[in-house]
């Protein structure tokens, strides 16, 4: 168990370091440097004097050679210092921490919707004996992933807020304001879970142990929930990790549609003013979440299937 754990942890750290490098290359290397970008067109459009530009560059360290910048910034990031926002001058870390709570709310809501919807759909589709119902249920996920997320959100607002006057269309006040954003966020992810789980469930239901259980007289629902589901859970868990890791990315669109405060909106604002340290901080945070979630998923695998930790190739 311990070597497995250490190997996973090592991979996670390596991926994070590499993600830092990729964002650094993208953001700092591509167009010159952010101060020039800001000074040339930026927000107010007034060109700065050369002296002011030089002073700004010196303050943010952009006058250093890139490799030195990379070193000092990486060293600072290792100590949790992601620099200061160019736009507001605030510490990137505290800006992210402040925007996080409302985002966590819809992330949890979205994940809940995704799991309930995805697992429910997959179980229903594999359980039913009606051919047409199964076909309809299995067609739903591929329909759901073809819809633009922002459009789904707007249509929900149109129907439930403006049409039926049931739920608020904007804002982050109270539980009611959480329902539509969570559904919007969870729908495409639920579709993904449903597709994978339905596939692995129908594979599991063809296995000999299901026949054995049936021959022993175990009921259909018991076979489904106890025998098949447990064995079908591993691929679904992988997808769940992927989905949870991408929740933050989903909030970018959802928070814009519902005009909610949060990390997604902060991202849109930061990109809008080319606030490079803030964008880098958010992307890094998102990949930290992605790596963290997948690390947890990796640690759950051996619980579900002990062969994985012992390095025995899993049959599934």
């Amino acid at each position: 168990m311990l070597p497995y754990l250490l190997r996973r942890l090592g991979t996670a750290i390596a991926v994070l370091w590499a993600a830092y490098t990729v964002t650094f290359v993208v953001l700092y290397l591509l167009p010159g440097d952010p101060v020039t970008t800001m000074a040339s067109g930026g927000l107010d459009g007034e060109p700065l004097s050369q002296a002011a530009i030089d002073e700004l560059k010196a303050r943010y360290g952009f006058d250093q050679p890139l490799i030195v910048q990379y070193g000092t910034r990486l060293w600072a990031a290792l100590h949790g210092d992601l620099g200061a926002s160019i736009q507001t001058g605030r510490d990137v870390r505290s800006a992210i921490a402040e925007a996080l709570p409302p985002t966590i709310q819809i992330a949890v809501g979205g994940l809940l919707v995704a799991v309930v919807l995805g697992a429910g759909l997959a179980l229903a589709a594999t359980f039913t004996r009606l051919r047409w119902l199964r076909q309809v249920l299995m067609a739903l996920p591929s329909l759901a992933v073809s819809l633009p997320v922002f459009w789904v959100g707007l249509m929900l607002v149109q129907i439930f807020s403006f049409g039926l006057h049931l739920l608020p269309s904007v804002g982050a006040n109270g539980f009611q304001a959480l329902i539509l954003p969570s559904i919007t966020l969870g729908l495409p992810m639920g579709a993904l879970i449903a597709q994978v789980l339905a596939k692995s469930l129908s594979t599991a239901l063809d296995e000999p142990y299901v026949q054995t259980a049936r021959a022993k007289g175990v009921g259909r629902s018991a076979i489904h929930l106890r025998h098949a589901l447990q064995n079908a859970a591993i691929p679904a868990l992988t997808v769940l990790g992927y989905v949870a890791g991408n929740l933050l990315a989903g909030t970018v669109v959802v928070e814009t549609v519902f005009t909610r405060p949060g990390l997604g909106r902060l991202t849109v604002q930061a990109v809008g003013v080319q606030d490079i340290p803030l964008v880098q901080g958010i992307v890094l945070f998102a990949s930290l979440v992605f790596v963290g979630v997948n690390l947890v998923v990796d640690l759950v695998y051996p619980v579900l299937d002990p062969r994985i930790a012992r390095g025995v190739p899993a049959a599934a």
Partner: protein
């Protein structure tokens, strides 16, 4: 579409046939194609939708002769009617005309995105799979990292660096999906590198780049092209999301995503401004996905 289907047939890996069947005559092939399509009305509809969208993209005047950027202000916010199929917007511009003309911008961006992903990802995968050893290791680690950054955030980081505009959004979306192409291309290349005909080519002294170009690339292309069609649907969604967020072409141009962003302000009163452009995007993506599924072996299995 017929062309695409035949292409899929051509790239189908040859099965070890015990008895070689007679090559089908032209008439037999047509009959088979018609029967194949007749059993799949959904696929036919998908083909028609994609054809219309392509027509809108390359010759918008055929479907909507009007000017997308001029409107009659007196006719503003009219609901859909025979005169204005999709209704009109807050400046009295015909929404149908704007959606049709928007197709060229949105599809142009999507094509660029898929092309960037296909070429860059394909090259990385080809190199990694063909050279192997440390080159493979290094390239695949880079690909892993690209996969660990959520696609839309990677696109947003690229937009921060590159700036706004349709083409820049397209490049950002394309780079964010390089990783999946690289993986598929690498897997295919590695499979083909071990095949007998590559070994034979090497044994007669064919130069490595000729082997790569003449033997590996054509045979590895099939699954990558299927992925490209699938990725086309995803890229439409990604491009329209970014355009909805306001990073695409500046206002008067009718990109699909920005059309919906404009319509958002009139959501309470004029449902068609958001609903109909969104349905157009959804129909396009659904159709592309359906065709991609058909290319992915459905034709071959239907023998």
């Amino acid at each position: 579409m017929t062309e695409l289907l035949i292409l899929a047939d051509a790239t189908e890996p040859a099965r070890p046939a015990v008895v070689l069947p007679e090559p089908p005559t032209r008439r037999e092939r047509v009959v088979r194609l018609l029967r194949f399509l007749g059993r799949r009305p959904g696929l036919v509809v998908a083909g028609v939708v994609v054809f219309l969208v392509l027509l809108a993209a390359f010759a918008p005047g055929v479907l909507a002769p009007g000017d997308p950027n001029t409107g009659v202000v007196a006719d503003k916010l009219q609901p859909p009617s025979p005169g204005h199929l999709f209704g009109t917007d807050y400046l009295g511009r015909d929404l149908y005309t704007r959606v049709v003309h928007g197709a060229s911008l949105s599809l142009q961006a999507t094509l660029i995105a898929v092309a960037v992903a296909l070429v860059a990802g394909g090259l990385i995968g080809l190199l990694a799979g063909f050279v192997g050893r440390w080159v493979d290791e290094a390239l695949m680690r880079v690909v892993d990292v690209l996969l660990s950054i959520p696609a839309i955030l990677l696109s947003l980081a690229l937009i921060t660096a590159l700036g706004y505009g349709t083409v820049k959004v397209a490049i950002a979306v394309g780079i964010a999906s390089v990783a999946s192409f690289a993986r598929v291309m690498r897997a295919e290349t590695m499979r083909i590198r071990q095949s007998t005909y590559v070994e034979a080519a090497r044994s007669v002294g064919t130069r490595w780049y000729v082997t790569l170009w003449r033997h590996v690339l054509p045979n590895a292309a099939g699954p990558v092209i299927v992925l490209a069609v699938l990725e086309f649907g995803l890229a439409i969604l990604a491009v329209s999301s970014l355009s909805f967020l306001g990073y695409g072409a500046p206002p008067p141009s009718p990109e699909w995503g920005s059309l919906i962003a404009e319509g958002r302000n009139y959501l309470a009163t004029s449902w068609w401004l958001c609903a109909l452009p969104g349905l157009t995007i959804a129909a396009t993506v659904l159709s592309v996905n359906r065709i991609s599924r058909a290319l992915d072996g459905e034709w071959g299995r239907a023998r």
